[in-house]
């Protein structure tokens, strides 16, 4: 009666889940520590990955044979809408923010984010945005107009359940959280770097997330404006996009893709950021062309705002517009594609350790090249006129998103899991996971290029029994389940590592950057007691060489 529960400060890196005496669970909920928030972001991402993955598998079952009746068409449409929305906004984004808010303070030698409460606020907005979106399933039906949600199909006269309202509100809420976190990252990087760490000595991970945060800051307002307009249309009978009331169907596409194409780079740049660290540490070499890798990220960020209409080559914008956006889309392929050669050159002359993180980075080089090349095909707009909105696009963008983004997040997971938890993810089981995942992924999507070329449009709940359609779709479904099993294996590997994994020690990979300079793994709640001034891009490596080691027990000393 009348007693107030004292909000507990976290007392351990993993407070547990107890509910008594305001411990455990409440520590998670009230946490403002960047590491605990980072872990919550990553867990959110894993949960939504499983949800989005299950939706994908159900769709693949429906598509396994021609003229299938496993899913009602309306349900299928809800599933592919939710799959896309989930994977972009509630898997990729939380994974990016999780790694970013966990490791940016550590990598720049700071003890916290600039605004710890804003950090927590950003996370909870993302989390509840996702819950709001999924609540639509029990509130009369999930959104069913695709993650791209084209007008006027997204209007009330064509989509009369409340799914699209939940879509708009859920994305608005999480979008505000994303903007808040981006501001937080920018201020942290600008203001809280350890002495000596000039911007040209930032670890590439920090550099690229930093650039990415500006990108996000500029892109999300377009989406938020479009969503607000859509809500006005749906709830108050405005007519921004409703053609029947004099609105413009194409306005939605412009607003959505001004956000949507930068969004593609928003999710791929952090993956590039992770690869840039992984290639260095496991090749035992500094990055090849630091300045180029950093500057090309800036080039990508700027160019990404001038390419949106390449999603609209088939809407009839005319020669001039098509030529401009074709040229800009080809141009952005240069800084993106050349990075591939930077990473190969980073391995050149190195001593390559084939850890699981490194395997994902190496497989990325080939898979992302495939996704990048098919992407250039779309910039050549006559080819786009043939292949857009077919399974060729489905294949292309999964090569970019899975081969690029998800592989990057998995590389980051295997690389940083020992720091986050203090335990190794089992490397041997991890290699099983790697091969299952890579075989499943390529088996699912490589043949979808062919499906597109033989005329199968995307977003169809079924298809007639045309030559090769059945066998190719069945193969795709089979390998999708291989990928599904690999994700189960990953969850199992993570659980086993948490319970009785091999202790990793503070610096298991003999790495280069400051997050490994913390006294323990997981890092203590106060990251650093003191750090010497930084003199190069590989601050922790220098300290180890000069033996100005803040925790001398690191070398040749098992902490347990």
């Amino acid at each position: 009666m009348g007693t107030t529960i004292k909000i507990p400060e976290p007392s351990a890196p993993f407070p547990g889940l107890g509910v008594e005496n305001a411990q455990g669970l409440l520590q998670w909920i009230s946490a403002v520590d960047h590491k605990i928030i980072g872990v919550m972001y990553l867990l959110t991402s894993v949960v939504f990955l499983v949800l989005g993955g299950v939706l994908a598998l159900l769709m693949r079952v429906q598509l396994a044979i021609p003229m299938n009746h496993f899913l009602h068409p309306e349900v299928f449409n809800q599933f592919f809408t939710m799959h896309g929305t989930t994977m972009i906004f509630f898997v990729a984004m939380p994974a990016i923010f999780g790694f970013a808010v966990y490791f940016i303070p550590l990598m720049i030698g700071a003890n916290e984010m600039a605004f710890p409460r804003l950090n927590a606020f950003g996370f909870w907005l993302t989390f509840f945005g996702g819950l709001l979106l999924y609540f639509s399933f029990v509130a009369g039906g999930a959104p069913d107009a695709g993650w791209f949600n084209y007008a006027p199909l997204n209007e009330r006269n064509y989509s009369y359940n409340h799914g699209i309202d939940y879509f708009a509100i859920g994305l608005l809420v999480s979008g505000i959280g994303s903007v808040a976190t981006s501001i937080n990252i920018i201020v942290t990087v600008l203001h809280y770097r350890v002495p000596g760490m000039a911007l040209n000595k930032l670890p590439l991970f920090v550099w690229m997330i930093f650039v990415n945060s500006f990108l996000l800051l500029a892109a999300f307002p377009a989406l938020n404006a479009a969503l607000a307009e859509l809500l006005l249309d749906r709830e108050l009978n405005a007519h921004f996009f409703n053609t029947a009331g004099g609105g413009s169907a194409l306005l939605w596409q412009h607003l959505f893709w001004i956000f949507g194409h930068p969004e593609v780079y928003i999710v791929i740049l952090p993956a590039f950021a992770i690869y840039s660290e992984v290639f260095q540490v496991f090749s035992r070499k500094p990055i090849f062309g630091y300045a180029f890798v950093a500057a090309s990220s800036v080039a990508i960020a700027l160019l990404s705002f001038g390419v949106w209409a390449h999603h609209m080559f088939a809407v009839g914008l005319g020669d001039t517009v098509n030529s401009f956006f074709g040229a800009s889309s080809m141009l952005i392929a240069i800084p993106t594609g050349v990075k591939i050669f930077n990473w190969i050159a980073t391995m050149w002359g190195g001593k390559i350790h084939f850890s699981v993180a490194m395997l994902f980075a190496i497989s990325f080089l080939i898979e992302f090249t495939i996704g990048g090349l098919t992407g250039v095909a779309f910039a050549m707009f006559p080819i786009d006129w043939q292949l857009t909105d077919t399974y060729y696009v489905v294949a292309h963008m999964h090569y970019v998103f899975i081969g690029g983004v998800i592989s990057g997040m998995l590389a980051g997971l295997f690389y940083w899991f020992p720091k986050i938890t203090g335990k190794y993810l089992d490397e041997k089981a991890g290699k099983w996971f790697f091969w299952l995942f890579v075989i499943g992924f390529n088996g699912t999507f490589l043949i979808q290029h062919v499906l597109g070329m033989i005329g199968m449009p995307r977003r169809v709940y079924t298809y007639p029994n045309l030559p090769w359609y059945g066998v190719l779709n069945f193969t795709s479904t089979f390998f999708a389940f291989v990928m599904g099993i690999s994700i189960l294996l990953l969850v199992f590997i993570m659980r086993r590592a948490m319970r009785h994994g091999t202790p990793a020690g503070p610096d298991p990979w003999n790495a280069y950057t400051l997050e490994w300079a913390t006294r323990t793994s997981p890092p203590p709640l106060k990251n650093f007691e003191d750090l010497p001034a930084v003199t190069s891009r590989r601050a922790w490596w220098d300290m180890k060489q000069q033996a100005v080691n803040p925790h001398p027990q690191t070398k040749n000393d098992d902490p347990i």
Binding site: P73, E74, N77, G146, Y150, P152, L153, Y158, T243, A244, A249, L250, S283, R284, K285, P286, G289, A314, V315, G316, D319, S323, G326, A327, L331, I334, V338, N342, I344, A345, M347, W348, G349, G350, K351, I352, H353, F354, I362, I366, T369, L373, T374, A377, M380, P382, I383, W385, Q386, D389, T390, M453, I454, G455, M456, P457, R458, V460, Y461, P467
Partner: protein, 323 residues
């Protein structure tokens, strides 16, 4: 047979695009092979030997290599951009505003309205005896450039017949154009390629390309009004069609039925399929469609009526003989 569709171009437009696509594929395959080769070479040659804990060579960059890495793709892309513009202007030359379209396609959820404005300029061409309006099965003449006008009655749809070339969206409130020059007579299949709602999957396209003489004959025969019912059952069907709500949405030229919300049924018996390829046109399929449309094509705008079995049989019989 394997790579049909895009790799089996049957129109001037599709041939041009296919040539560009194949050129690009060769370049792309070379680049992919280069990357694969480099990755295999580097990971084999520079793998860490057991027990070797030394660092790699501290190479931080190489100006010449970096210039080559940027220069080569830039030149390659510039060349492909030039090819892109060339193909684009061949496939989609500008439209002279005075040129009347040869065919107008209007997208509906979830079917295609097809009209041939032979008397373009008449105030209400649908009532003109010469005006041909049909649905889903698109007859086109080969051997001459056709101008297609694309419109939408509701949401965005997309016209795509892969063997005939480029796709184009049907955007409500806009008119889009497409040039088409078909090489050979034959049946070409396609599908709506912009997600347009629940039955997007069953908005397929069937193009029947004909020699000009055959096409002219088809057009003349379809310009006729509907056949009068041939027997008593068909007569009963016609009465039901006209007096119940069917006529509110469907048109049968030569009768009072003048609805425009659903497909024109004047010569429905001549079309090989109904529901954009979902069912073959015959009395049985027509009857089951009228009986339980929402089980056959969920989410279509055809409502479920409370007809007796006899009425359904009569209507289906009437429609089937509209040849």
């Amino acid at each position: 047979m394997f790579l049909q569709a895009v790799e089996d171009p049957q129109s001037f437009q599709a041939e041009h695009i296919n040539r560009l696509f194949n050129q690009f594929n060769i370049a792309a395959a070379c680049i992919l092979l280069l990357v694969v080769f480099l990755v295999i070479y580097v990971t084999t040659k520079y793998r860490r030997r057991h027990g070797d804990d030394s660092e790699g060579a501290p190479i931080e960059g190489n100006r010449r290599v970096e210039i080559l890495m940027i220069g080569f793709p830039t030149v390659l892309l510039a060349w492909f951009f030039y090819k892109t513009l060339a193909v684009s202007s061949a496939v989609m030359p500008p439209v002279n505003p005075s040129r009347q379209p040869d065919i107008i396609i209007t997208g509906h959820q979830f079917w295609w309205e097809v009209s041939y404005p032979r008397n373009a300029g008449t105030p209400n061409p649908a009532n003109s005896p010469n005006y041909v309006i049909t649905a889903n099965e698109v007859h086109l003449p080969v051997g001459r450039p056709l101008l297609m006008e694309l419109r939408s009655a509701d949401v965005i749809h997309d016209w795509w017949v892969p063997q005939l070339g480029n796709k184009m969206d049907l955007v409500p409130g806009n008119k889009n154009y497409l040039w088409l020059n078909i090489r050979r007579p034959g049946d070409y299949i396609g599908a709506c390629s912009e997600f347009c709602g629940q039955q997007h999957a069953w908005m397929r396209i069937h193009v029947v390309a004909q020699e000009p003489a055959d096409f002219a004959r088809w057009l003349d025969s379809n310009a006729r009004n509907a056949n009068p019912p041939a027997d008593a059952l068909a007569r009963a069907g016609e009465t039901l069609f006209q007096t119940r709500t069917c006529a509110g949405c469907h048109r049968i030229r030569g009768t009072p039925a003048d609805g425009a919300a659903g497909p024109d049924l004047t010569h429905v018996g001549n079309r090989s399929t109904i529901l954009t390829g979902l069912l073959t046109t015959n009395e049985e399929n027509l009857a089951s469609w009228i009986d339980h449309p929402q089980e056959i094509k969920q989410g279509s705008y055809m409502p479920t009526f409370m007809f007796s079995k006899d009425s359904i049989k009569a209507i289906a019989h009437y429609l089937e003989q509209l040849k």
